[in-house]
């Protein structure tokens, strides 16, 4: 009884770890205050869901989900390259609103507010991953590879440049570095990982709708990253563990879901506010969120 539930929680932790680390790459390491990451997650989920319900094999839809999200991420920073600080944050939030309303209104493609149902379980080498245990293995492998790659990136010369850009963009420009290019690359990588985590989410839950990729989920993922700490991959992963565990075990509380759902959101919002006011570095953050 408890075992299948544990597997379910671990799968969600794996999926959201990829998403939160991908957000930390732009938000924490590069200093791009992107509030539109949830939309990239959604684009990945919808891409993968639409392709695979139309017969495209899982591997192809999975990779295309990453690529399409990466392209949207690139478009977002390209379009907003003149905006700085909170105006970039607002424009990325606006981007999330636009994507949400497109998911809601392009009914011929996305099925509108009803969402996409019966998304098939992934098939790998002719083997259908029906059981959650095997799905967990798949998620764990992808999660470990993704985090390994992002960890390599942030510790590489390129990663150092990203952090330098976050700390002093003008200084880096004076040294002759093209900071716009750095931003494009960071967003491409981050968008890719957000997209593949969206694909895993869609295939695991089997059902997606526009509300899964809106403000509530945005606060959820921001809470994870900010609690974990800016520019800390370890922090993001640990914080994903904590938040998903709290969120999923709250289902067992003896209250109806109409109470537990909002109560959970209240808890996230309060935790986020407390962290912002009293502990802006989060658990493992190396710098204050600026």
């Amino acid at each position: 009884m408890i075992f299948p539930y544990l597997i379910h929680i671990l799968i969600l932790i794996g999926i959201y770890s990829i998403l939160s680390v991908s957000l930390n790459l732009v938000l924490g390491y590069s200093g791009l205050l992107n509030l539109g990451q949830i939309a990239l997650f959604g684009i990945g989920a919808y891409t993968s869901a639409l392709l695979s319900t139309n017969g495209v094999p899982f591997v192809v839809s999975f990779i295309l989900a990453g690529i399409i999200s990466a392209i949207f991420g690139l478009l977002l920073v390209f379009a907003t390259k003149k905006l700085k600080g909170d105006y970039f944050a607002l424009a990325s939030l606006g981007f999330a609103f636009v994507i949400y309303s497109l998911l809601l209104n392009l009914k011929e493609i996305t099925n509108g507010p009803l969402g996409i149902t019966s998304i098939p379980k992934p098939t790998l080498f002719g083997f259908i991953i029906k059981e959650n245990f095997y799905f967990l293995l798949l998620v764990l492998i992808i999660c470990i590879i993704s985090i390994y790659i992002i960890n390599k990136i942030v510790n590489s010369g390129f990663g150092k440049l990203l952090s330098a850009m976050r700390d002093n963009e003008l200084g880096l420009k004076v040294l002759g570095k093209n900071t716009s290019k750095l931003k494009y690359k960071a967003m491409l990588i981050s968008g890719f990982f957000a997209g593949i985590s969206g694909s895993l989410y869609a295939h695991y839950i089997g059902y997606i709708e526009p509300n899964t990729f809106y403000l509530t989920e945005l606060i959820f993922i921001l809470t994870i990253v900010i609690i974990g700490g800016i520019a800390s991959i370890k922090g993001s992963v640990i914080s994903t563990f904590l938040i998903i565990a709290i969120s999923e075990t709250s289902r067992f509380l003896p209250f109806p879901s109409s109470i537990v759902g909002p109560a959970r959101q209240i808890v996230y919002s309060v935790i986020l506010l407390i962290i912002l006011i009293f502990k802006p570095r989060g658990l493992y953050g190396r710098i204050d969120l600026e």
Binding site: L33, L35, A79, T80, K82, L83, K84, G85, D86, Y87, A89, L90, A91, G94, F95, F97, V98, Y100, S101, L102, L104, N105, K107, G112, L215, T216, L218, I219, L222, T223, I226, S258, I259, P262, A263, Q265, I266, Y268, S269, V270, L272, L273, L276, I277, P280, L289, E290
Partner: protein
């Protein structure tokens, strides 16, 4: 032709409500220099206090109305003192304040949803539902009230900002905070006042939308986004610009759904918001200041 006229009237009514939200938004932005996304909390609080006192507890309508405005003004002030001020004191950036304000908005939305449920609530104040037919255009008494009250408030706000000492202090702080403090203006008091007035206007918007439509936990978020979009269209640095931007948005939404399915109403404002942020972040009517 008559359809077009009706759509324009509907656009002006929607615009009036957006304008009540956006001028508070812009007022607060100008004196404090950050986006108070939790502005929608005032809208929510006033709507739900009105529903609780008038509809559930059968108090006198005007007592319920005044109470809801008092509560919504205070909640804005308290948010400033309890959340924003500590953040500002530790020199948090605008983005932190923005994230804090979004989570405040969701906090209240979910709090009210938990207490009252997610379903829509009808205030049930039927005295003002009478409809008039002017030519081919149908307009209810409540809608006329919306148009008149908003215009009265905009004129009073204009007079307050330009003729009274407090209003002039506010304008001084929004022009140049340091200079204002050198000449002895207490900028914290000005911030307090801007939150009071802005939230009071938001509270009025909350009451009017609750009477015009219904009370729902989502109306705060929706009106925040609409008010914010209006301010960006008109220019957030200018209160009159924000008001004009609101009417533009109200008209654009209502004219837009003449040609698009009605589900696109919100999409129109989201797209306008994004386009303006990208192409004209200073808005249409703010003159000299640059965003960056």
């Amino acid at each position: 032709m008559s359809l077009l006229l009706q759509v324009i009237v509907n656009g002006l009514i929607a615009g009036s409500i957006y304008a009540l939200v956006s001028c508070g938004f812009s007022l607060i932005y100008n004196t404090n220099r950050f986006m108070h996304f939790a502005h929608g909390v005032s809208v929510l609080v006033s709507g739900y206090i009105l529903f609780t006192l008038f509809t559930l507890l059968n108090f006198n309508f005007y007592f319920a109305l005044i109470s809801s405005l008092v509560y919504s003004s205070f909640i804005g002030f308290l948010i400033f003192r309890i959340v924003y001020l500590p953040l500002q004191n530790r020199k948090a950036s605008n983005v932190i304040l923005l994230i804090a304000s979004i989570s405040l908005l969701l906090l209240f939305q979910n709090l009210l949803q938990m207490i009252y449920g997610a379903n829509v609530k009808d205030i049930g104040f039927t005295d003002i539902k009478i409809g008039y037919e002017i030519g081919d255009v149908i307009i209810t008494q409540n809608q006329i009230i919306i148009l008149i009250i908003s215009i009265i408030l905009f004129v009073s706000l204009f007079l307050f900002m330009n003729k009274t000492k407090l209003g002039k202090n506010m304008r001084a702080v929004s022009e140049n905070k340091e200079l204002a403090s050198i000449v002895g203006i207490n900028s914290k008091k000005v911030s307090d006042l801007s939150f009071f007035i802005g939230s009071f206007l938001g509270g009025i918007a909350g009451v009017l939308i609750s009477l015009e439509q219904n009370v729902t936990p989502y109306m705060g978020t929706m009106l925040t986004i609409k008010g914010f979009t209006s301010s960006i269209i008109g220019g957030i640095f200018s209160v009159p610009g924000s008001i004009l931007g609101s009417y533009i948005l109200g008209l654009a939404e209502n004219l837009g759904i003449l040609y698009l399915p009605s589900g696109y109403k919100d999409a129109i404002s989201f797209v306008l918001l994004f386009l303006f942020l990208l192409l004209k972040p200073n808005g249409l009517f703010s003159s000299k200041r640059r965003v960056n």
